[in-house]
Symmetry: C2
C-alpha cells in the first residue's frame, strides 16, 4: 500500500426529509446565495423545500448554471454575489451546480484573475467562501470532495481543479429528490460513478486489500441497483443505495493509498467540450476502449475484477480479461448508454481534433504510469469508433 | 436504509515514516502533553521519533496509562496537565491511550465533577482540548472516532462515552510501529476489529447494500490477513491492511444508516472489569454465544454472512447458519484467542455476578432490538462456558 493522507470534513445528512438540516449548518446571520441549474428543482419541489427551510434568512438566487458549468456563467454569479454582499453559497442541484459553486466560492475571494484558479489546477486558491450542497442528482461525487471541473466555453476546454478549501461544509442527500429524474440522467449517474471507481481501482496491485474490496463492493452495488433504478423508478431503497455509492465512489476513500488512472476522464472531457456529449456518455465509450488497449498494464487487476465483480472463473487469462471488459461494456449498454462513438455520429475524423485538444491542455502523459500519450489515445479512440 | 448523519473531521496520516507529520498538525506555540502507556514506545523507537519530531515544542509527558484506562489514573494526568498549563494532548500508543486522552481532553476543561462525563455517556461535555494520536496498536478504532471507554476501578465498571468534541484532530498510522507487537496483541487487535464490524453488520437487513459490502470486505480482509500477521510478522503490507481495517471498522462509516447491536461489547466490558480479561478475549467468547442464542433475530444476515464471507452455500438454512457461527469461532481460535470462559477458569458461578453488574450499569435492554435482557445474557453465557 502507498502512503496516504485522508481528510474529509464534509458533514453528510442522508435520508428522507433531511433538507431542513440546512438551517443547522448555515449561520442565521448569513447572506445566502442559492445557486441552481435549469430549474428542475422548481418542478420537483426541492426549490420550495429549501426556500421554506431558509425562511428568515437573507437569501438571493442565481439560476441557470448549465451542465458542464462554464467559467463565463459562473463569473456572472460571482458578480451578482459580490454586489449583494453574499457570504454563504448553497448549491441546489447535481454535480454541475456543486462544481460551479466550488469555483464561485474560490473566485469570490480571489486576489487576481479568477481564471488562474483553473490554470493552476486550484493551487492558487488561498481562501474560499463557505458553502453547502443540496444534491438532487447523484453521480459526480462533488458533494463530498474538493474537486471540480469547469468549462471554458471560449476555448472549448473542461478544466479540473481541486483544493482542500473547497470541500462543502455539508451536503444534504435526500434520495427522494432523485425519484423524478429522467431515466437518462439516472443512467448517466450510474455510469459516472462506475467509471470513477474504475479509475481508482483498475490499475495495478499494491496490496491495498481494503481499498479493493470497497471498490468491488461499490461496483457490485451499481450492477445490482443500476438496472433496478430504471425498472423500478419509484423504489426509494434503490435510489438510496445509488446515491450513497456515488458519494463514496469519489470522496477520497477508495483512492487512498492506491494508484489512480483518470486517463478515461481526461479524454472524455475533450469529447464533451468539443461535441457536447454528456460527461457519462463519453466515459461509457472511452473506458472499454482504454481497457482493451491497455490490457497488458492492467492484467492483474482485470483478472481480479473479472473474478470478484463479474464471477468470471473459467477460460484462459486472455479470455477472462476479454470477458470482463465486454461485461463492462454491456453493463453500460444495459443502462441505455451507448459505448461507441458512432452512436453520436462521430467518426475517425474526430480523433485528431481530440488529440490536438489533449496536447493543448497538457494532457500528454496520462494514466497510472503517466504513459498514456496522445498516440496511445489515438489507438483507444480508433477502437471506440 | 435508515436516515443518517456522517461527519468525521480527523485527518489520517498513513504509512511509513509519517510520525513527523505531528509537526504539521500541532501548533508551534502549543504546550504539549505526550500521553503513553506502559513504556513499550520506549523500546520500539516510537518515543524517540515523537520526541525528535517535537523538538523545540514545550513538551511534558504522562506515562503509565493502563490497558482499560482508569478514571483514577487519568485524573492524575489531568492534574499534572493543569499544573503545567498544557493546551494540546498527544496520545502515543494503542486504543487505551487514545481513549484515555479523549477523557483527559474533556476533563481538562470540564466545569464540575469529571465523573459526570461518564455518567452522562459524554453528553455533558461542552468543550475539550485539541489532541492528536500516534497509533501503535490497531484494533479499537479510537484513532478516528469520537468514542471512548473508561474504567472506574473503584466500582469495577467499564463506562463508554462519546461526543463529537473528542474526535482526534489527526492520527498518525505508521504500520511499521506495529511490527514489534507481541503476537497476543496482534491477535487481540484482529478480534476486536472483527467484532466491531459484526456489531454493525450482523443485525437485520435494511437494504444498506454498500454498508454490507464494506463490512464484508473488511471481514474478508481480516480473515485473510489476520493469520498472516502471526505467520509473517515482518510483512509490512499485512500490517498496513490490518491497521486500515481497524480504523475503518469503527469510524462511523459502515454503521451509518444501519441498525447496530453492541450487546457483545457490553457483556464483554463486564467480564473485563470483573476478571481482568483482555477486551478482545471477552469478545471472542461472547460473540459466538450471542449469535448461537440469537439465531432467530439474526437469521437473514447470518445466511448472507455465511455465504459472502465464508462461502457457505450448501445445506439447509439451519446448517448454513450453524456453519457460519462455527467458522467465526474457529477463526478466533486460529488467532490463538480462546472462545470459552473455561479457558480463563471461569465457571457458571461468574454468570450471576456479570448479570448483577449489567443491571447496576443500566445495561438491561441491549442489542439492535433492545431486547437483550439479563435473562437472555444468562443463556448466552451459559452457552459460552
Amino acid at each position: 500500500m502507498k502512503n496516504f493522507v485522508v481528510h474529509n470534513p464534509t458533514r453528510i445528512y442522508f435520508g428522507k426529509d433531511c433538507i431542513k438540516a440546512v438551517t443547522k449548518e448555515i449561520p442565521k446571520n448569513a447572506n445566502v446565495l442559492m445557486v441552481y441549474g435549469g430549474g428542475s428543482i422548481k418542478r420537483n419541489g426541492v426549490y420550495d423545500q429549501v426556500k421554506q427551510a431558509l425562511e428568515g434568512y437573507r437569501l438571493t438566487e442565481f439560476g441557470g448554471v448549465e451542465p458542464n458549468p462554464s467559467f463565463e456563467t459562473l463569473m456572472q454569479g460571482v458578480e451578482q454575489a459580490r454586489a449583494e454582499g453574499v457570504d454563504y453559497l448553497l448549491a441546489v442541484g447535481g454535480g454541475s451546480v456543486a462544481d460551479g459553486v466550488k469555483f464561485m466560492a474560490a473566485a469570490m475571494l480571489y486576489q487576481g484573475d479568477p481564471v488562474e484558479i483553473l490554470t493552476s489546477f486550484g493551487k492558487s486558491i488561498k481562501q474560499a467562501l463557505p458553502f453547502g450542497c443540496v444534491l438532487t442528482l447523484p453521480g459526480t461525487g462533488s458533494e463530498m470532495n474538493s474537486g471540480s471541473v469547469i468549462t471554458r466555453s471560449s476555448i472549448k476546454a473542461k478544466l479540473p481543479f481541486s483544493n482542500s478549501l473547497v470541500f462543502p461544509q455539508f451536503s444534504v442527500l435526500d434520495p427522494t429528490t432523485t425519484l423524478s429524474l429522467p431515466p437518462a440522467q439516472v443512467a448517466n449517474g450510474v455510469v459516472d460513478t462506475y467509471v470513477h471507481i474504475m479509475e481508482q481501482y483498475l490499475t495495478y496491485p499494491v496490496d491495498g486489500k481494503v481499498q479493493d474490496r470497497f471498490a468491488e463492493g461499490l461496483l457490485l452495488t451499481l450492477i445490482e441497483e443500476g438496472p433496478r433504478a430504471l425498472a423500478e423508478p419509484d423504489n426509494y431503497d434503490v435510489r438510496a443505495n445509488l446515491m450513497w455509492c456515488a458519494t463514496l465512489g469519489l470522496n477520497g476513500l477508495i483512492g487512498a493509498g492506491v494508484p489512480q488512472d483518470w486517463a478515461t476522464h481526461m479524454v472524455g472531457h475533450e469529447l464533451t467540450a468539443l461535441y457536447g456529449l454528456d460527461h457519462a456518455k463519453t466515459l461509457a465509450i472511452v473506458l472499454p476502449g482504454m481497457l482493451r488497449v491497455r490490457v497488458r498494464d492492467k492484467r492483474e487487476k482485470l483478472l481480479q475484477y473479472g473474478e470478484r465483480v463479474w464471477g468470471i472463473n473459467s477460460g484462459d487469462e486472455s479470455q477472462r480479461i476479454d470477458a470482463a471488459i465486454e461485461k463492462t461494456r454491456r453493463f453500460f449498454e444495459s443502462m441505455q448508454v451507448p459505448t461507441r462513438l458512432k452512436a453520436y455520429r462521430l467518426a475517425a475524423d474526430c480523433i485528431p481534433v481530440v488529440l490536438e485538444q489533449l496536447r493543448a491542455h497538457g494532457m500528454v502523459a496520462l494514466g497510472e504510469h503517466s504513459d498514456v500519450t496522445p498516440e496511445l489515445v489515438q489507438r483507444v479512440l480508433e477502437d471506440c469508433l
